[in-house]
């Protein structure tokens, strides 16, 4: 029983990191119809920027926000200078963002070198907490709470604000939304900034658990894509549901079916896509 409870916590905490990164990817894809393959690189960049700032004495929270903002700005430049010119050119967008992965990768190697790092949780979140009959690392519990807080903020933005209304309208019918006088290109830039911010934030928040190394971008991108495919694109609740499902399946798969550990996540994706091709809470993406 204890094993099941601990593995559930493992899955949920890992899932929360996946949610933060996947929510950014889902927003960008949902609003703009752009599958940003450089999103994994945003994760890695955010981790290294955050670790550098934390190493210079910036507090954990400040370093996390600054890392997200820095990556967000980079995303904004990417969108304004490159992606904005490739409207509806899906193949070109994919090629461009894939090429950018290699540029970011080499830039990371050039600036920070090839070494891997593990982040330090803030002092107050280090150590462990006793839960009934077992102790569990405190930071992993906090990641769950942080993830839920981010979800609450994004849900509020999506469902209760004008920006969210524009987001949902744009996903349903972009031309109509533009026709109503909304400056959609400017709005797209904001969404791209937010998506990249979330990617960078996830990178730094994940370092005390996952660590970071330059080659991580494609691995994390792949799992983020699986999350948004499973949860459904363009819906923050879908990203959360997908991330929790993948996180839990991954944890239980590794714990109880280790010989098939690599396969369990893909099996879950296949089963869900067969029963619901648009994902659990998916909406049709209007490209």
């Amino acid at each position: 029983m204890m094993g099941i409870a601990v593995n559930m916590l493992n899955g949920v905490s890992y899932g929360m990191i996946l949610f933060i990164i996947a929510s950014g990817l889902s927003l960008i894809f949902g609003v703009m119809g752009v599958l940003n393959l450089a999103h994994g690189a945003f994760f890695v960049l955010g981790a290294y920027i955050g670790l550098t700032l934390a190493g210079k004495g910036w507090g954990f929270v400040l370093a996390a926000l600054a890392a997200g903002a820095a990556v967000g700005l980079l995303g904004l430049v990417l969108e304004r200078v490159f992606l904005g010119r490739l409207y509806k050119q899906v193949n070109e967008q994919v090629l461009l963002t894939l090429g950018l992965v290699y540029i970011y990768w080499n830039a990371i190697l050039w600036i920070w070198g090839p070494k891997s790092h593990i982040g330090k949780a803030p002092l107050a979140l280090q150590g462990d907490i006793v839960l009934t009959s077992f102790s569990y690392p405190l930071y992993r519990l906090w990641i769950i709470l942080i993830g839920l807080a981010i979800f609450a903020g994004l849900w509020f933005l999506e469902e209760r604000t004008r920006i969210g209304a524009i987001m949902r309208a744009g996903m349903d019918d972009k031309q109509m939304t533009t026709g109503l006088g909304i400056n959609y290109p400017l709005f797209s830039s904001f969404v791209f900034f937010l998506g990249a911010f979330l990617g960078g934030l996830a990178g730094f928040l994940g370092t005390p658990i996952l660590g970071i190394q330059p080659g991580l971008s494609m691995d994390i991108l792949l799992i983020a894509i699986i999350v948004i495919v499973v949860g459904g694109v363009g819906h923050v609740a879908g990203a959360l549901l997908g991330a929790l499902l993948i996180g839990v399946v991954d944890a239980f798969g590794k714990a109880y079916f280790p010989d098939f550990a690599l396969f369990t996540v893909y099996l879950a994706m296949i089963v869900i896509l067969l029963s619901k091709p648009s994902g659990l809470l998916g909406r049709r993406v209007n490209s």
Partner: protein, 395 residues
């Protein structure tokens, strides 16, 4: 009439070309003017690119020391990125051999790349030696043309298993390892040593390559006298998570040098007592080692050399010694014969080869300790594995 003369001239020119080409390719491998070309394959990109620049630096260090010459022959180094991918490794090896006319291929890091490249080199008759320990399969794949200067994966961890049972008194072990050839063999060597005099393995967990979150495996860990683990590229993150989950058992990292030093220092007191085996240490106090450490620190802005650099240096050094012995003749049979006879003093101690081309050297058991406020790996057992082939008895 005109046509006949034209065709005849064309055929004559073809004949001249064929004869000329045959002459050129029949020219000996150490023709005057042709530099001795070392093709260096390293993973500058891919899954684990951390160590490639350092290994290249160590290679260049050795070449600097000999003035980039073997006898009268200049040496040139051509690097290529194998990207931690066997297909890419073979493609790049083909480029180094066919286009760059490499006399030898050195390098590779991951076992799957090493085996693939060994197979290619064996087919085309070019000698090959990987950097760092590799599976004995490399020699089996290329019995006439591959050497393992730093020994096999199993051989390098075998003493750790012996030490854990014989000296530390552990009777049972739980093991975790990356689910691929190097993971299985590194931990396999430890297991072979541990079981030799009666130790038993209570649990084996094969972890998918690239796993970052070890929580499910740590939650599943069964109690044993000791936990032994080996992961590609993620030893440090595993150890950190191991201590976070408060497992409590003693820990053995069969290859201590694969744990990132910066992470060990961050773990600090928690990591004191972790045991591992290795061939070398910057702290070993003999002249060759001190000179090497000094030279590499100067070359790499104060960075202390790690096992990857030692291995790269030693592999290059043994090849150059063989090339010196043949007078610069790099034809495969001659160079392999000379290479297997090499016995030189290196920063790792005296290195030579057994009859199969497996390195013979020294192995030590290390313990992570704290002394005067500084953390470092201290040799705790150096008696049992001196000047022996670095291969497990089963190989």
């Amino acid at each position: 009439m005109k046509n006949v003369w034209g065709k005849g001239l064309f055929l004559f020119l073809c004949l001249v070309f064929v004869v000329f080409s045959s002459y050129v390719s029949a020219v000996p491998a150490h023709a005057e003017g042709k530099p001795l070309t070392i093709g260096l394959l390293l993973p500058y990109t891919g899954f684990d690119p951390r160590n490639a620049p350092q290994m290249e630096a160590a290679t260049r260090q050795r070449l600097d020391e000999i003035g980039w010459k073997v006898g009268d022959r200049k040496v040139q180094l051509i690097t290529a990125d194998e990207a931690t991918d066997p297909n890419v490794g073979v493609q790049k090896a083909m480029k180094l051999v066919q286009q760059d006319k490499a006399d030898v291929i050195l390098g590779t890091l991951f076992g799957n790349v090493a085996i693939a490249v060994a197979g290619y080199c064996n087919r085309v008759g070019v000698p090959f030696a990987p950097y760092i320990e590799q599976s004995y399969s490399v020699i089996k794949t290329a019995p006439q043309g591959a050497l393992l200067p730093t020994g096999t994966l199993k051989g390098s961890t075998y003493p750790g298993g012996l030490y854990a049972y014989d000296k530390l008194g552990f009777k049972t072990a739980s093991i975790l390892y990356s689910d691929y050839v190097a993971g299985e063999e590194y931990i396999g060597g430890f297991v072979e040593g541990f079981q030799k005099h009666g130790g038993s393995i209570v649990q084996r967990q094969a972890v998918p390559l690239g796993t970052l979150d070890f929580a499910p495996f740590l939650t599943n860990l069964q109690k044993a006298d000791v936990v032994a683990f080996w992961f590609a590229g993620t030893m440090g993150p595993f150890l950190k998570q191991f201590f976070e989950f408060k497992q409590g058992q003693p820990v053995i990292a069969p290859t201590y040098w694969t744990i990132e030093p910066e992470i060990m220092n961050e773990l600090g007191d928690k990591a004191v007592g972790v045991i591992g085996t290795g061939h070398d240490s910057p702290e070993m106090n003999f002249a060759k080692n001190r000179q090497f450490v000094e030279a590499m620190k100067k070359r790499l802005n104060g960075e202390t050399p790690n096992h990857y650099m030692y291995s790269a240096y030693i592999t290059t050094a043994t090849y150059l010694e063989a090339a010196k012995a043949t007078g610069g003749d790099t034809s495969r049979d001659k160079i392999i014969k000379a290479w297997r006879k090499v016995k030189i003093e290196t920063p790792m101690g005296v290195v030579s080869f057994d009859k199969d081309g497996c390195g013979v050297g020294d192995l030590y058991v290390f313990r992570f300790q704290k002394e005067k406020g500084n953390y470092h790996w201290q040799i705790v057992d150096e008696g049992q594995y001196k000047q022996k082939p670095v291969r497990a008895p089963s190989e």
